[in-house]
């Protein structure tokens, strides 16, 4: 199977190379052949997700506007691309266009190693730079050290994501609780639920949710320069500062008070999502990637709000379209990215429950989708996307999981927890 696929790929490559030589055309960067007949595309969005549906439509649109050109799409898993991308991109098997995770430890690392194509000229020429807000654009650009936020364009996100408080309106109504508009109201609601033997917050200690609670608590006491220091190394990050200390202590306190279940230590993100969907946990704080699923599966009335009392929240542009340095048909890849940025595809993405970055607001008809996009516009307007806590250092995700688990089990005090984070951060962050 693999051999057959490789043989086909080799034949396609041979035909393309031969035609390139015969026609003596194509850019000096090895791409841009006007007679290329195949666009090799990899992404890892589920077909029924908002992005999956939008990209499927984009493929149709691409083939309609590029007669004679076939899109050879290969569906990959997130893990597959995450774990093997550097090796694949370093080989001759690289596709023409690929979805890849954003951030210093991923797209930044590849850009630093020279494995990605510089898209700066295309971003200006095709107007992508105008379509993306500053917060979303941060993950597109990387400097010479692979640090996001400035430098050349190495990726284009077509959607955005952000975290929010999902709450079960039926359960709030049952216990005569108002929808949480302030932080105090949120805490009061959690207290009431606990008094009624309900663990209010859905959590997963074995995966990202727990660390995002901690990070959100820190963000509620932070500002943009704090985020820039932490994520972009523009200053010194002190894990014993007021924001991190408040976050670690409050989180530990919430575990003690029963707002976060001790038994969530080994829970995965899916477990947390399911406990919210089953009506067991009335509140879940997580990303917009849950939105479409909750819309489909929740059997109760639910609402969302941004984390009360905080300007900043975890979020960013979505995963990136990147063009490998060794891609053979770069021009086709740019055309495809351009189509995904078109109003038609962006509006489709929005109506399917995604967060488009360049949609026509009037064209979003679904009321829930409108709410999602309104929240995003509020965040975007106040420059509130604060990225994710695991981004600054490769492997920091595992450190955060492991250490936050200790905070949940009580086997580590907040002070020791912050010491451990500081040590891992200092060890992995680039010296600047």
């Amino acid at each position: 199977m693999l051999t057959a696929r490789r043989r086909v790929a080799a034949s396609v490559a041979a035909v393309l190379t031969g035609s390139l030589l015969l026609a003596s055309c194509g850019g000096s960067d090895g791409g841009g052949s006007s007679d290329a007949k195949t666009l090799r595309l990899w992404h890892y969005e589920a077909p029924n997700s908002a992005m999956g549906a939008a990209w499927t439509e984009a493929i149709k649109e691409f083939e309609a506007t590029h007669p004679g050109v076939k899109v050879k799409f290969e569906e990959k898993s997130f893990e597959q691309i995450q774990k093997t991308a550097p090796m694949v991109l370093n080989s001759s098997d690289a596709p023409d266009l690929m979805e890849y995770n954003k951030g210093n430890a991923t797209a930044g690392l590849l850009s630093k190693q020279g494995l990605l194509t510089d898209l700066s000229a295309e971003a200006t020429k095709r107007g992508w730079d105008k379509l993306l807000s500053p917060g979303v654009r941060t993950t597109s650009q990387y400097d010479g050290d692979g640090v996001m936020g400035s430098g050349k364009w190495y990726g284009v996100p077509n959607y955005a994501e952000y975290t929010m408080v999902y709450f079960n309106k039926d359960l709030f109504a049952k216990y005569k609780l108002a929808e949480p508009k302030t932080f105090d109201e949120l805490v009061a609601a959690m207290k009431t639920f606990t008094e009624n033997d309900i663990t209010p917050l859905a959590n997963s200690g074995a995966e990202y949710l727990a660390q995002q609670y901690v990070y959100q608590l820190a963000l509620s006491k932070a500002d943009r320069s704090w985020v820039d220091s932490y994520e972009l190394y523009k200053g010194k990050t002190d894990f014993h500062d007021a924001a991190w200390t408040y976050a670690a202590e409050t989180f530990a306190d919430w575990v003690k008070k029963g707002y976060i279940g001790k038994s969530s230590t080994s829970a995965k993100a899916e477990d947390a999502g399911v406990s919210f969907l089953q009506g067991k946990a009335p509140i879940l704080f997580s990303g917009s990637w849950w939105y479409g699923r909750f819309q489909d599966e929740a059997k109760f009335d639910w609402g969302t709000t941004l984390w009360p009392g905080s300007t900043l929240t975890p979020g960013s542009g979505g995963n990136l379209w990147v063009v490998p340095k060794s891609a053979e048909n770069k021009e086709l890849a740019y055309d495809f990215v351009d189509i995904t940025m078109s109003k038609k595809i962006q509006n489709l993405l929005g109506n399917k429950g995604g967060v488009p970055v360049a949609a026509d607001t009037a064209a979003i008809t679904d009321p829930k989708a409108k709410e999602l996009i309104t929240h995003f516009n509020t965040l975007s307007g106040r420059d509130g996307l604060a990225f994710y806590p695991d981004w600054p250092v490769p492997g920091f995700y595992d450190v955060l999981v492991s250490e936050t688990q200790k905070l949940i089990t009580g086997s580590e005090k907040p002070d020791d927890y912050l010491d451990a984070l500081q040590e891992a951060y200092d060890k992995g962050a680039p010296k600047r």
């Binding site: 090796m87 690392l109 074995a206 038994s263 230590t265 080994s266 477990d271 200790k406």
Partner: protein, 312 residues
């Protein structure tokens, strides 16, 4: 004598040469998939490399870091627990069960029941570890896992635990799952070993009034000693390189409580993209496994030689 000797040596050399031809493909595959990657891995372990770009030579730095890495040594301590769970306990329990099935169940309930029971014990070995791991993570789930529900149902609700999420229990829970996974292998090997024990030995012992335990101690155990060595060596190696179960059940958590060297190497390699350091971990792990295997085989050979010497 003088005439016969060269003929004998010719006769013994000819089959050896033909065997060598049969060994060649295996040898080449071994070279390609074991020796060369191992040497490459060892080479990488002397570099500082993120998996892409050019590696830079760092000499013994990775090994020096490894010596001071408390997480690495903690993972090795957990490995010793895994040796208990995957080698010691299954071998001991497997021996008793194999003897019981062969000597008692077989006699009183027939060979069909014995075969069914043996297959039941062996079933976890057939299941992919990913499937078994997922099923066990449901069973051990804290809120609605079957084990906690069962405890509740029989009035032992106070014993409910977060089996995989509590650092005081997680390692023992993983060990329990591994005992379940591993038990079938020694059992089947020991039962096969028991087939070659002369039944007259048991009959004679029974006539002399030896009970089941005495027969087990003085006949079963000594007779299948070679199988015990093989199983112990094999299972110890499996325990030292255990990965799948930890990956599926706990991912080394909570807070590193179930981390083992192979998972530690994997996360260093792929999550932290410290490829050179990850390679150093796996090199050390390979050397330790190799050394233990050689010691195991040596002990086995020595014991067998001693037994043969005692018989002659």
């Amino acid at each position: 004598m003088k005439v016969r000797a060269p003929r004998a040596s010719r006769a013994s050399r000819a089959p050896r040469d033909s065997y060598a031809v049969f060994l060649l493909p295996g040898g080449l595959v071994f070279l390609a998939v074991i020796v060369v990657p191992f040497l490459m891995n060892t080479g990488v372990s002397f570099t500082d490399w993120q998996g892409v770009g050019s590696p830079s030579w760092s000499g013994l730095a990775n090994y020096r870091d490894l010596m001071d890495d408390t997480e690495f040594w903690a993972s090795f301590r957990h490995s010793l627990f895994m040796v208990v769970a995957m080698a010691a306990i299954p071998t001991a329990v497997g021996l008793v069960l194999a003897a019981a099935l062969f000597d008692y169940v077989g006699k009183h309930f027939g060979s069909r029941i014995t075969t069914v029971l043996r297959a039941c014990f062996y079933l976890p070995q057939v299941l992919p570890i990913a499937v078994a791991g997922i099923v066990w993570s449901w069973i051990l789930a804290p809120d609605n896992g079957s084990l906690n529900e069962l405890l509740e149902a029989v009035g032992l609700g106070g014993w409910r635990q977060d089996w995989l999420g509590d650092p005081d229990f997680a390692l023992y829970s993983v060990m329990g799952v591994m005992v379940w996974v591993q038990l079938g292998f020694p059992l089947v090997v020991f039962m096969a070993g028991l087939q070659r024990v002369d039944p007259q030995l048991y009959e004679a012992a029974e006539l002399d009034g030896a009970g089941w335990w005495r027969r087990f101690r003085h006949i079963t155990l000594p007779q299948i000693r070679p199988e015990v060595y093989v199983v112990l060596t094999w299972c110890t190696i499996a325990a030292l390189k255990v990965f799948g179960a930890v990956y599926v059940l706990t991912k080394g958590g909570p807070g590193g409580a179930t981390d083992v060297p192979s998972y530690f190497s994997f996360s260093t390699f792929f999550e932290k993209t410290q490829v050179g350091y990850g390679a150093a971990i796996s090199t050390v792990l390979t050397v330790i496994i190799l050394a233990l295997s050689l010691v195991g085989l040596r002990l086995q050979t020595r014991a067998e030689d001693a037994e043969e010497g005692a018989r002659t």
